[in-house]
């Protein structure tokens, strides 16, 4: 590689790694923060939404009929026959017990004599009380409803659905790939963008603001060499910052998604998948760096650059979220020419094992082309005294 480009890159690295504050705030902190926040959220959500594993659901019943008493143990219920409904309802409200079912008197006889076609009165009614804020109660409620539904169905059984078969044919891998495909492209895009955003304004608008770029421009370095050196070094640094966040995400994601200790098994992806993801990420980072560098070069100060880049952040978020909706990755090739959207779709495709190699390659190549165009524009800007000496 060209000597001047290497000189510029070395200086950018020396600047970054020589500054402990920068290394901590841009490199270490994001990963650590993500780990702490996600883990904390995961633990908190588990407490909030997941029923405890070793809890026996308690069913309080009024007028508990014989028929139901026979099947309740199969559902794991511990049954309490009660009469004072008000007290039990208070207990449910206080999360002291799970559910209360009030059967009408002589439930079994009424059901027996009820004819769906001929009876003119309404069928017997069951009331179930529960507490939706208490996960144990919610679970018991769900269990009771399905128990009663099944009992009702068995009374007039004409046919069954899915008796003794596992009907969901999605493999574990598919389920995992599906959840990864919907979440990771968004996360990765955001992390790449924030990584670039924490570096490029400082390096380009900052040098302009401090008047140090002019010192470089009076030496016989080509403007293109300066532009390329800056973009490549910023790209590498942004990649490292992104990597730190990605590691933080992967370590904490199992907790976040409330999976068990085995966590997310990334072995479901092969070498080709990883290479493609790496290429998509790298080309996207270069493209983003080019855009933010150009915005920074137009800005007079770091602060101004930061302000101008922020609206872009919203665009990036919206595009990133697009991977979470819609039926999987887009198939039309023209979508893969749209910067950023192409990366999100390509990543989403690779993560869900459902992509066309042509589309992914089109995305990677178009990103590189956009980055080169950006480099060209940046070179032109470094050549312009209006840009460099604007005040």
């Amino acid at each position: 590689m060209n000597k001047n480009i290497i000189t510029i890159m070395k200086k950018e690295f020396a600047r970054f790694f020589g500054d402990a504050r920068m290394v901590v705030t841009a490199l270490i902190l994001p990963g650590l923060m993500i780990y702490v926040v996600y883990s904390f959220m995961g633990v908190a959500m588990k407490d909030m939404f997941m029923p405890s594993d070793d809890h026996t659901p308690v069913l309080n019943a009024v007028n508990f009929p014989q028929s139901i008493a026979k099947i309740a143990p199969q559902y794991g219920f511990e049954v309490n026959a009660v009469t004072d409904t008000d007290e039990i309802r208070t207990q449910i409200g206080n999360k002291e017990t799970d559910i209360l079912i009030v059967f009408p008197e002589k439930f079994d006889e009424s059901v027996e004599s009820y004819d769906t076609k001929l009876s003119s009165v309404k069928p017997p009614n069951i009331e179930i009380y529960y507490n939706s804020v208490n996960p144990d109660s919610s679970e018991a409620y769900g269990l009771a409803v399905s128990m009663l539904d099944e009992y009702e169905a068995s009374l007039s059984n004409k046919f069954d659905i899915n008796r003794d078969v596992v009907s969901d044919l999605a493999t574990n891998e598919d389920v995992m790939a599906f959840s990864i495909a919907s979440l990771l492209p968004f996360l990765l895009t955001m992390l790449m963008f924030t990584g670039c955003m924490s570096l490029a304004p400082e390096s380009i608008a900052g040098e302009k603001e401090r008047g140090t770029i002019a010192t470089i421009l009076v030496t016989p370095i080509k403007r293109s060499e300066l532009a390329i050196g800056k973009m490549l070094s910023l790209g590498v640094l942004a990649f490292l910052c992104g990597l730190s966040s990605v590691i933080g995400t992967f370590v904490s994601l199992p907790k976040m998604m409330m999976l068990d200790e085995s966590g997310i098994d990334m072995n479901i992806y092969g070498a080709v998948d990883y290479v493609l993801i790496a290429l998509i990420v790298l080309s996207t980072i270069l493209m983003i760096i080019a855009v933010i560098s150009i915005i920074s070069a137009f800005s007079k100060t770091i602060k101004e650059a930061g302000t101008s880049v922020t609206p872009l952040m919203i665009v990036v978020m919206v595009v990133g979220i697009s991977s979470m909706f819609g039926g999987g990755a887009a198939t039309e090739i023209t979508y893969y020419l749209i910067p950023l959207y192409n990366s999100v779709q390509a990543m989403s495709g690779v993560f869900s094992f459902n992509y066309s190699m042509t589309n992914v390659l089109v995305a990677i190549i178009s990103n590189v082309v956009y980055a080169c165009a950006g480099g060209f524009i940046l070179t032109r800007m470094f050549n312009s005294e209006k840009v460099i000496f604007s005040r």
């Binding site: 001047n4 000189t7 020396a14 500054d19 401090r210 002019a214 030496t219 005294e385």
Partner: protein, 258 residues
């Protein structure tokens, strides 16, 4: 002595922002900073551009250093045009002005190596040059101190050393002694005289008459972007001091306008 620098009808107009219009107390949207300026400099001499604040000295030197482009006219340094061969011109010159800042985070030692690389100076030559320049300007003991922690004078001396790493044929200095105490200023002027003795050509801009009298062989007085007079120092100071001469020329040219 052969001519090494030729300036031909340089002109530079700046567009003024609303804020600048207020500062300059003018309603015109443009400011002609340098207007049809011509002069020549001979090889091996020290040439001084003398003028009051806002005369256009810095603007002229920035055009010579290829940092900004002239609207019209051209300048040739050792035959290379600042308009069409800026890359060649940059190899030829050492340029110093207060607007060129050093990255405060780095040490003089690091910056020296960095700029030596950009100037294509090899390792051995670089170390020899470093030892020489750091000794001349007393930088050696501050070589590993971050620029942010250096005094104003030391910063200026480091900037100066970095500007001439590549031993340029032509040295262009804007206000070389501004903000320096007499001792430091003397180090700088002695250095310029030494460079002249070794055959370099030097162009300085200043509003300090004594500096011109002390070191310049020839000088030009710029007023309002145009060259009022340009001659050898002995001719300029033949009948009166440079300062009195300047007042004469100044009242004459201001009188012309009214």
């Amino acid at each position: 002595m052969p001519e090494i620098l030729r300036v031909e009808g340089l002109k530079k107009t700046f567009t003024l922002s609303a804020k600048q219009q207020k500062l300059e107390k003018t309603r015109s949207k443009t400011k002609v900073a340098v207007n049809d300026l011509s002069f020549t400099v001979n090889e091996g001499e020290i040439f001084g551009l003398l003028g009051p604040n806002g005369a256009g000295k810095t603007t002229t030197l920035r055009m010579l250093a290829t940092l900004i482009r002239p609207d019209s006219g051209d300048a040739f340094l050792d035959g290379f045009s600042v308009k069409t061969q800026p890359y060649e011109v940059r190899k030829l010159i050492g340029f110093l002005t207060s607007e060129l800042k050093l990255e405060e985070f780095f040490t003089p030692n690091y910056l020296f190596d960095f700029f030596a690389n950009l100037h294509n100076v090899g390792r051995a030559a670089r170390e020899a040059r470093k030892a020489e320049l750091f000794a001349t300007f007393g930088i050696a003991e501050f070589a590993e101190v971050k620029v942010a922690n250096l005094s104003t004078g030391m910063k200026q001396k480091v900037s100066l050393a970095l500007a001439i790493i590549h031993d340029p044929k032509i040295i262009i200095f804007d206000e070389p002694t501004n903000g320096l105490d007499v001792l430091t200023a003397k180090t700088v002027t002695d250095f310029l005289l030494e460079q002249k003795a070794s055959g370099k050509t030097i162009v300085v801009s200043t509003h300090i008459f004594s500096l011109v009298e002390k070191i310049c062989d020839r000088a030009g007085i710029i007023i309002d972007g145009t060259m009022a007079v340009c001659d050898t120092l002995s001719a300029l100071t033949a009948d009166k001091s440079l300062e009195d001469k300047f007042f004469d020329i100044y009242s004459e040219s201001v009188g012309d306008e009214q």
